[in-house]
Symmetry: C2
Subunit: 245 residues, 2 copies
Amino acid sequence: MIKLNQISTDAPPDLDKSEAKEQTKVYVERLGELQKMLIAQKKYSVLVILQGMDGSGKDGAAENVFKDCHPNSLRVISFKKPTEEEFAHDFLWRIHKNAPPKGMVHIFNRSQYEDVLIQQVHKWIDNERVKKRLESINAFEELLVYDNNTVLFKFMLHISKEQQEIELKQRLNDPEKFWKHNAGDWKEREHWDEYMRCYDEVLNQSSIPWTVVPVDQRWYRDYLIAKTMVETLEKLDLAFPPLQE
Amino acid sequence: MIKLNQISTDAPPDLDKSEAKEQTKVYVERLGELQKMLIAQKKYSVLVILQGMDGSGKDGAAENVFKDCHPNSLRVISFKKPTEEEFAHDFLWRIHKNAPPKGMVHIFNRSQYEDVLIQQVHKWIDNERVKKRLESINAFEELLVYDNNTVLFKFMLHISKEQQEIELKQRLNDPEKFWKHNAGDWKEREHWDEYMRCYDEVLNQSSIPWTVVPVDQRWYRDYLIAKTMVETLEKLDLAFPPLQE
């Protein structure tokens, strides 16, 4: 049983920062190499879900961890407020459309989980629908895995409420971050405890497990995501195909 | 427990043909009226799945039953051999993309069920995958129903092996039907019994039930599909919205 308030948002105290940063570079580079095999082999697809509160560093993770991946076969999809067309469909319609084909790495910046998080927090849907949606999400993710060899990474970017305040304030003070400022983020922050309760539910109801990533130190976020991905992908039979006659 | 070989492919003997044809006209017209409310109200979507062996009259059903529907809000999607892009995804990817938005009627000429029928008959997938795909289909259809108010009609067009021969031969004799002739259909016909076994499995494993439509007489096919749809849609709260201020 996962309880986020019992999980630290800090890097482990015994991990040396500069060593971890060196190691991250190695992982990031290796991820780029593994992606080339993925492209060449066209056997697997990779889906990386980045979920987390505002300011938890989803954009930064997408920027740093995949910097040695070839952009041809890498796509970031950011799920924002649904368009009119999306809203006229079930909640998984726009998600499924963006599922990665074999050979591709897709990064979801926010995801299907928003439809059980923000929508539950604001009571736009009732508990019965939350339950059904969680079941639909499980069935959908299992489908991607068994029917399209999708390697699914689900990272919950775990930030403390104090660190979020620092991150959101930076957007008010740094001219290069003004564009990220959104008054709505401060309003969402008022629902912090309810968000944490809903995240706990999501983490515990998922049939395909999550990796909770402590992100108060950004270097540890990149380190843990890159390490997790490389270690998992190394276990597959990724390889460059032999020369075709 | 449904067994297709115990279900007649003929119209019920006590149904008068010319009366049924008159009645069909009324249903078809009423379906057009109900569709206008559907378009105006944008509360429900309608998905009509037409499945059946070659020559079972899927095209004819789509042509006749919906002739009074407005083509703006009606779309027929024919699922043929997957494209390269479709094939690089899970089997439901191309299906889900074509799910109807609210206010629309979508007709699937063949459907997700081909991926457990033809693929099972030819042993392109093993039994384990058939089972998983049937579960995925159930979860997918339930999602459309609860999360997008989709009214789902699943019609299995039930033809006899003898009548199929007549239909396929017509394609060899009628110059207006030459274009429908496909030598592959005669090859698929050799697997008739295995197809029936797989259809039985599909009919019995579906959580959302099918309507088996005897189609040896085409007038009865149109009659039963139109009747079923109108009677179901009449039970909904379809209505034209009041004037907006």
